[in-house]
Assembly symmetry: C2
Homo-oligomer: 375 residues x 2
Amino acid sequence: MHAIEEVDTANRTMTVQAGCILQTAAEAAEEQGLLLPLDFGARGSATVGGCVATNAGGNMVIRYGMARDMVLGLEVVLADGTIVTSMNKMLKNNTGYDLKQWFIGAEGTLGVITRVVMRLRPHPRSQNTALLAVDDFDSVGKLLHWLDGNTAGTLSAFEVMWPDFYEFITRQGSIHRAPLPHGSAFYVLVETLGSNPEADAESFETVLGEAMEQGLVSDAVLTRSQSERNALWEIRDDVLEFFKLGPIIPFDVSLTIEKMESFVSDIREGMDRLDASICVVFGHLGDSNLHLILGNENPDAFDYGALETLLYESVERYQGSVSAEHGVGLSKRAHLPRSRSEAELQLMVGMKKMLDPNNILNPNKIFSADKIAAT
Amino acid sequence: MHAIEEVDTANRTMTVQAGCILQTAAEAAEEQGLLLPLDFGARGSATVGGCVATNAGGNMVIRYGMARDMVLGLEVVLADGTIVTSMNKMLKNNTGYDLKQWFIGAEGTLGVITRVVMRLRPHPRSQNTALLAVDDFDSVGKLLHWLDGNTAGTLSAFEVMWPDFYEFITRQGSIHRAPLPHGSAFYVLVETLGSNPEADAESFETVLGEAMEQGLVSDAVLTRSQSERNALWEIRDDVLEFFKLGPIIPFDVSLTIEKMESFVSDIREGMDRLDASICVVFGHLGDSNLHLILGNENPDAFDYGALETLLYESVERYQGSVSAEHGVGLSKRAHLPRSRSEAELQLMVGMKKMLDPNNILNPNKIFSADKIAAT
């Protein structure tokens, strides 16, 4: 159940069994000069089947999309034991309903994905990475558009860190050196993936230089080596470090970009009211995805429910999504109605009842047995 | 029902009503410096709702995907009159089942799409176009990979014309001048969309020059103006010209690339056996999509059924798709089982029965009433 069945270089696809580890699959593609453009911190333990069942996102979504966008075909076992083999390898196939879409992101509640055909891309030959300091949120949004408009679709990461993230991770005594001095309003890790190392490096510098001239960027560090690049990404990826602060909850939400600043400010005010001191914000801003870490340095005062309510009530007020890329599972089930209407939820439960009438597939994930019975 | 409700430049989305003409929507995006990356010959009459309901493809799929890939949200009216409003504007939203996917490409048989949120892209600032002559099919495949690997994802068109297409459209007396002499095995129209006019033109020339040095390309014409570019595209788009040859049937199929040459050769042999003289082949090869025009110069000998059977039997034998981008409707309904298994079809009919139990939505499209009753 974890084999790589094929890497098809002519059609640039790979066929893998669901239990294959993401990193193993990515390495098999790379050996053929191809890219499986799905990557995130848990690459060494996540399975491809899990990535597809949860529609995983990660660090390259702005360029290549989420797991859904790279699935060409799949095989799924239905609740009644029927094996539906739909291992399409073609980019275009409009023969009836695109039923693979029903199972991608359904968290195993509609069927068990057993095999997958993934679309591969040419492996990039250049990678340009920089950390930028930005003075205000308006400039962050303009910078995103400036870079995306001037890098011809090669922008693959636009990761924003609020100061509470960056300054804690690079604090004195940390294993991470601060590539830019503390004191800026925002820090943005940007990366492009291209095909011409020399020309791409030159144009990356030019485009960033122009952003500085326009006042969108106040300071910048460009990496000159793979180790410098790794050091930047390690800052962005060292989320576990925040567990040292005290009990925390990591959140994964989506908001349209013009609402983000006000949303974060509301959350901070709420945290003050709750006398809860940990509020760390970062995210894949190019994908409308914010991560927040809320908690309390005083474990005795840590109130899980209050923090969760504060966060999800705000998401609802701002018409955001309570789950951007992490899915629903058990923990966000109760909050689903904050982002989805009753009509949408009824339609979803109808699908669940059709495909899994006895509620045997990953039961109680996304929808509780009670919700299903009541719909 | 045909209004553009909003072009949101901050989030780079547009909200349109289903009856809006594609070209109107695209122009509204362009006025804001943004690109609605869906384009094909019928842009002036196709509606956005129709594009989404049929998951339309077109000329930029290799770069931006099909209609499905640019839909962020939609509103749909169900068979029971329920309006499901799911007008998401965020790139990431994993809150339960992604139900918009159920309706995209379902040809109006599961619900009536009334409004759509489309993702927009930065409008490209450079466009480089060339017509290439290629000596053999193996080189066509290698050329696709060479260009895609060396243009960093900016390759937006890779349109292959077999000689019967190119040489007829540019024959003596035609309104189209032949930019390359007749006599080559394949003609490929390639285009990149970039952000830096000067640098992109230079690298386009370099990459094509290297392809010639490798022997992948035997002759090339690069366009130097918009009118030259238009002239190339007019050759590719002048499909109606083939109606002058006699009664014809246009087909739209998908095949994995390594099977295409042998497939086309089988079709030609079959046409010889049927004594049918018109066999024209072209396609979006980067998307695994071939278009074939089959017919007979002698109208009295034109046998619709025989040509259709020849074509679709071959598609089935080569495990291709009987509909790449044009959908199923009525005319391909009988051929659906050639590309989809009984298990897949049963699952689809189950969905149809759940969402449209009285078969009132675009009845008999994709599935006949008899098929639904029998499943």
